[in-house]
């Protein structure tokens, strides 16, 4: 017969929280109660066996997978979907009113600056439904048809991923370039709206924006997410160029077509 008081003392002793007085009392009780002694020995043996079970190392892929998932969430929250409608409203406002076109151009440029500088609070967009097919035009060695393209040339490794939905294009670029790489995205400003740009914090790249050209200089390890829309129903081609130490390591003309 083992009463609750002994059981509690046994557990406190096994957990290492019994006072000296409790330990002494337990010792006395155990010496007079073989069943309790057996329970105590079993509990101690179980606790010792569990203490010997070493933690298992997680797979090496775990941390990169977590960080990729987090980057994806960051990218999902950064793009400014709402800005598209803001830009649209603005274009509607100035359309047909030549007197406002110059001021409109200045304001649009300022707005683009704000977007690319992350000064405007990013609006959330859910890219979970973004899908798409990346179609290539012209010769582009190592550049295969698909949503995900690997870059591996002259010490520069990385991936290019595109997704789009409802006229919204998302381009994700990740590079690992110890010597640094310059990334340029060239678009036709007459037919493409650049809505948001988000370099990862560790990219180390310097962003510069000119009409129709977005450039990241000195990108080493990290990435960038670019969100843009076409002015018409179709999404015009964009040219992506990566240059390392003055040498082109990747160039491709990409058109993004809605697969739906």
């Amino acid at each position: 017969m083992i009463d609750n008081h002994i059981i509690e003392l046994i557990n406190r002793e096994v957990d290492g929280v019994a006072s000296a007085e409790e330990t002494a009392r337990l010792r006395t009780l155990l010496s007079a109660n073989p069943d309790a002694r057996k329970l105590f020995d079993d509990m101690r043996s179980l606790a010792d066996a569990m203490a010997e079970m070493l933690p298992v190392d997680p797979p090496r892929t775990l941390k990169p997978a977590i960080m990729r998932a987090i980057d994806s969430r960051i990218a999902r929250k950064r793009p400014a979907a709402g800005l598209a409608s803001l830009l649209h409203s603005f274009r509607t406002l100035v359309f047909g009113k030549p007197g406002f076109v110059f001021a409109g151009g200045l304001a649009a440029g300022f707005l683009l600056f704000l977007i690319t500088s992350n000064i405007i609070a990013p609006r959330s967009v859910d890219d979970s439904e973004l899908t798409g097919t990346l179609v290539l035009h012209g010769p582009a060695p190592g550049f295969s048809r698909g949503d995900l393209i690997d870059i591996n040339s002259d010490g520069v490794q990385g991936t290019i991923e595109t997704q789009f939905s409802s006229g919204l294009c998302l381009l994700r670029l990740h590079v690992d370039a110890p010597e640094g790489v310059s990334v340029s995205l060239l678009t036709n400003p007459a037919s493409v709206h650049l809505e948001a740009v988000r370099p990862s914090d560790d990219s180390g790249a310097q962003l510069s924006v000119r009409e129709g050209e977005l450039t990241f200089d000195g990108m080493k390890t990290g990435g960038v997410v670019v969100l843009f829309t076409g002015k018409g129903k179709s999404l015009p081609p964009a040219r992506l160029r990566l240059v390392s130490s003055g040498k082109p390591v990747f160039e491709g003309v990409i058109s993004l077509e809605n697969s739906k």
């Binding site: 059981i7 509690e8 557990n11 096994v14 957990d15 929280v17 329970l39 079993d42 509990m43 043996s45 179980l46 606790a47 066996a49 569990m50 203490a51 010997e52 079970m53 070493l54 933690p55 298992v56 190392d57 997680p58 797979p59 775990l62 941390k63 997978a65 977590i66 960080m67 998932a69 987090i70 980057d71 969430r73 960051i74 990862s200 914090d201 560790d202």
Partner: protein
């Protein structure tokens, strides 16, 4: 100080410093993975759970109250995610045999692995509430108070669950012959 370091990492993460959160992942990935592994007994599930735990932690970082310990908060997410995963699966699978337990020498490792396997099998026969307290107490070394914080139950309930869990575990193991040869 470990706790101060955690708080600093949380603050930097909230300020948009991705590398600070990466450090959090680095620091706690092993413990989170092991909590999930001990709870689910399945390596693939544990990996998925660990990923989800850090994603949730990242998304809820703003809601973290700095007056509490960060790791308690993270463990709570880990335990809850493990329970959710078990609830979803409602089935038992053996531990991935590819997983190895590091040990000092081969004979000891073989014996330890056999003991570990028996305990892991027995753990899966515990109900999930009992299993959670055993994992937090015996595999993660938390105090009653810390377990109470993580599981958001009273210390009294922690003790009661732990005592019951160990007795159930002992009975299961005795039936499996644990203690005779071990």
């Amino acid at each position: 100080m470990i706790l101060d370091e955690d708080l600093g990492l949380v603050r930097h993460s909230l300020a948009g410093d991705r590398s600070a959160f990466e450090r959090i992942v680095e620091k706690y990935q092993k413990t989170v993975f092991n909590v999930a592994l001990r709870m689910t007994h399945e390596a693939g599930d544990a990996e998925d759970i660990a990923q989800e735990v850090f994603l949730k932690a990242y998304e809820r970082l703003k809601s973290f109250n700095p007056k509490y310990k960060f790791f308690s908060w993270l463990y709570r997410i880990a335990v809850n995610e493990s329970l959710n995963s078990l609830e979803r699966k409602k089935r038992y699978q053996g531990l991935d045999e590819q997983l190895t337990v590091q040990g000092p020498d081969l004979d000891e490792t073989v014996e330890a692995n056999e003991r570990s396997r028996k305990i892991e099998d027995a753990m899966m026969e515990l109900n999930v509430d009992h299993r959670a307290v055993v994992v937090l107490k015996h595999f993660e070394g938390f105090s009653y108070e810390e377990i109470a914080q993580i599981l958001e139950i009273s210390e009294k309930k922690v003790k009661s669950r732990l005592f019951t869990a160990r007795q159930v575990l002992r009975d299961i193991l005795l039936k499996k012959g644990f203690g005779n040869n071990d």
